[in-house]
């Protein structure tokens, strides 16, 4: 660690002092600009242009339409729209928010239960931990394939368990069409995301000093109280991280699973389960509405930023304690 002297040296001297640090971060800075920021700025500009299949070769010289696409979407938000393209996008927005909410709630709740169960002393703990992580090794597009089979109405694993083995219901459920399809997507996502959340929470639980629990037990706190007043507050930093990842993955994700799970390779999941990224991708690459796709992406990014803002307000206090390192 370079010691900072009391009298602050000039910026240039401090920069020279850290020349190695700049050399070390240079590749990342280049990558960030080339692969992320410069394309993003182009994308922002693209959202103001009328880029279609016929004008794609013009690219940034395509006709300028300003905020046309944004206006369309906002007007549709306020007054409804008869354009199927826009109403489809609004419908996908609702689905995406619902999807994000349920995947996060389910992943965090189940992950917490699983982490608590794993954070006990028992003989097969090591192997249990490994087995729990396994779904995480399954790529998301394979997850989509697996769950496509699981949700098959005839012969799918889900209906087999519910109808044939347990007999909870008599009629096989239609999973991939209609209102159930969103939950089919949520369950597949949770299955894939649960291991990561569990292991992260388990790791945080394992560094909580045991004497905290012993002291609480002496004071007569029961299991639930110990969880509520010791475990949960100390898990807040990792929960903050997991919620942030969960929100990003929820709003931007679902593509790979949807492509394979709903079949056909088009990622169109029907009106109940169509998410924003699949919808935008379809508009962009199948209907060749590149400008409209870019504008929708910008609006999606604004939606995410709103969520991140809410997230920041909720978790601000726990971020400060984490920032100590």
């Amino acid at each position: 660690m370079a010691a900072s002297p009391h009298s602050k040296p000039s910026l240039w001297r401090r920069m020279k002092q850290h020349s190695l640090a700049y050399k070390f971060i240079a590749p990342t800075v280049v990558a960030m600009f080339l692969i992320h920021f410069i394309p993003m700025v182009q994308g922002l500009y693209l959202s103001l242009l009328d880029v279609r299949l016929t004008t794609l070769t013009l690219y940034l010289k395509a006709p300028f339409v300003g905020f046309k696409y944004y206006r369309e979407v906002i007007l549709a938000l306020l007054f409804g729209s008869d354009s199927s393209r826009i109403s489809g996008m609004l419908n996908a927005t609702g689905n995406t928010i619902e999807y994000t909410f349920w995947t996060n709630v389910a992943t965090l709740t189940l992950g917490m239960i699983l982490a608590l169960l794993l954070n006990r002393k028992f003989r097969w703990r090591g192997i249990a931990r490994t087995l729990v992580l396994l779904p995480w090794v399954v790529p998301t597009f394979v997850t989509g394939t697996i769950f496509n089979f699981i949700w098959l109405q005839q012969g799918g694993l889900a209906n087999r368990i519910l109808v044939d083995w347990l007999g909870i219901i008599d009629q096989p459920i239609t999973w991939l069409i209609g209102p159930n399809s969103l939950y089919a997507l949520v369950i597949a996502t949770v299955w894939r995301g649960l291991p990561f959340a569990t292991i992260m929470m388990l790791a945080s639980m394992q560094v909580i000093p045991l004497d905290l629990y012993e002291a609480a037990e002496l004071d007569g706190a029961n299991g639930l109280q110990r969880f509520r007043y010791i475990t949960l507050p100390l898990l807040k930093p990792i929960l903050a991280t997991l919620v942030l990842f969960g929100v990003i993955n929820g709003l931007y994700g679902g593509y790979n699973i949807a492509v394979q799970m709903f079949g056909g390779g088009t990622a169109f999941a029907g009106e109940y389960a169509d998410l924003l990224v699949p919808a935008i991708t379809r508009q962009t690459w199948e209907r060749h509405l590149y400008g409209f796709g870019a504008a929708s992406s910008v609006l999606l990014m604004i939606l995410l930023l709103v969520f991140v803002g809410i997230w920041y307000r909720v978790f601000r206090s726990s971020l400060r304690t984490e920032g100590g390192s």
Binding site: M1, M15, H18, L20, A21, Y22, F24, I25, T28, A31, M32, I35, H36, F37, I38, P39, M40, G43, L46, I113, L114, L117, R120, V132, L133, L134, P135, V137, V138, P139, F141, T145, I146, F149, Q154, G155, L157, W191, I199, L202, A203, S204, T241, L251, N256, V259, Q260, G263, G264, G265, V277, T284, W285, G293, A294, M301, L304, L305, V308, S325
Partner: protein, 297 residues
């Protein structure tokens, strides 16, 4: 007197026994619950593996869990029909190269960020997090157009090639990997490097010979993370026309969708999971250590 003492102790030990019994039963109940959840988590994978040995009819009509006879030939049929070797080889090349380059570069940058308070470090961190907030659909076309432009003017073949995909993925995964690495380097005590530098090592030597070996688990967890994510990437590979496994499988699903060759898709899926599962099992101890150290710090 003596009797009452004995009575009291038996009563006490009985109470202790009862308490113990209760604890024992509760903890067995927890074991059972855990077992149930693990079974539910593993069932889809087991179902997939078993399904890869079935016939197509058994998928949709039969309700038996096990196949009537084991069709090992599904694998060879799949391999030829999908031209799997091509996709498999491409994916292996792209993901290995990406993992190698990203891990090295991310270690360097992550180390710099964890160790030095250089001017601009805050902006740099913010920039890294910023990259994660951009939706892929926003910079997909600009990237495609940029790659096309580079191909046409500089004649560097970035579209439809493994090289192009590797360049893309390195840029893609570098920021987030660096973030994982940073938290890991922060846990390594600084004294060791200072000692080495007192002994005459340069800062770079101290980093390379002292810090990097200590960062083993962190480096491994980053490497697995990158490999897994690259192995899983579909959208950009598809748009850049790179023939990786996800693209191949998608084409197969699209073409064979009407035929619904579930057994072939299952076989392909098993083969896709195998390399990553193998890597995971070989490295999992260090991987979990690395992952969790990053989580805690």
């Amino acid at each position: 007197m003596g009797i009452s003492v004995t009575e009291r102790t038996t009563a006490k030990s009985l109470r202790v026994d009862q308490h113990r019994l209760r604890r024992f039963l509760v903890s067995r109940a927890y074991d059972l619950l855990l077992l149930l959840i693990i079974a539910l988590l593993l069932l889809p994978i087991i179902f997939l593996i078993i399904g890869s040995f079935k016939t197509r009819q058994e998928f949709t009509v039969g309700s038996a869990f096990w196949p009537q006879s084991w069709h090992f030939e599904n694998y060879s049929v799949m391999w030829q029909r999908v031209n799997f070797s091509k996709y498999f080889l491409n994916s292996i090349i792209i993901c290995s190269a990406t993992t190698l380059v990203v891990t090295i570069l991310a270690s360097m940058s992550g180390y710099a960020l964890a160790r030095f308070r250089f001017p601009g470090a805050g902006a740099f961190s913010l920039g890294i997090l910023g990259t994660q907030l951009i939706p892929g659909t926003l910079f997909l076309i600009p990237l495609y157009m940029t790659f096309l432009w580079i191909k046409n003017t500089l004649h560097i073949p970035l579209i439809g090639t493994n090289f192009g995909a590797t360049v893309l993925y390195v840029g893609f995964f570098l920021p987030i990997s660096l973030w994982i690495q940073r938290s890991f380097f922060a846990t390594i005590p600084v004294d060791l490097e200072e000692q080495a530098m007192v002994d005459g090592a340069t800062r770079f030597q101290a980093f390379w010979y002292i810090v990097m070996p200590l960062a083993g688990p962190g480096v491994i967890s980053t490497a697995i993370f990158v490999f897994l994510t690259a192995w899983d990437e579909l959208l950009f590979a598809w748009v850049l026309n790179v023939q990786t496994i996800p693209v191949g499988i998608r084409q197969f699903t699209g073409v064979a969708g009407s035929e619904q060759r579930y057994e072939l898709l299952s076989a392909a899926s098993v083969v896709i999971i195998l390399p990553v599962a193998l890597m995971f099992f070989l490295l999992q101890k260090r991987f979990i250590a690395g992952l969790t150290a990053g989580a805690v710090k």
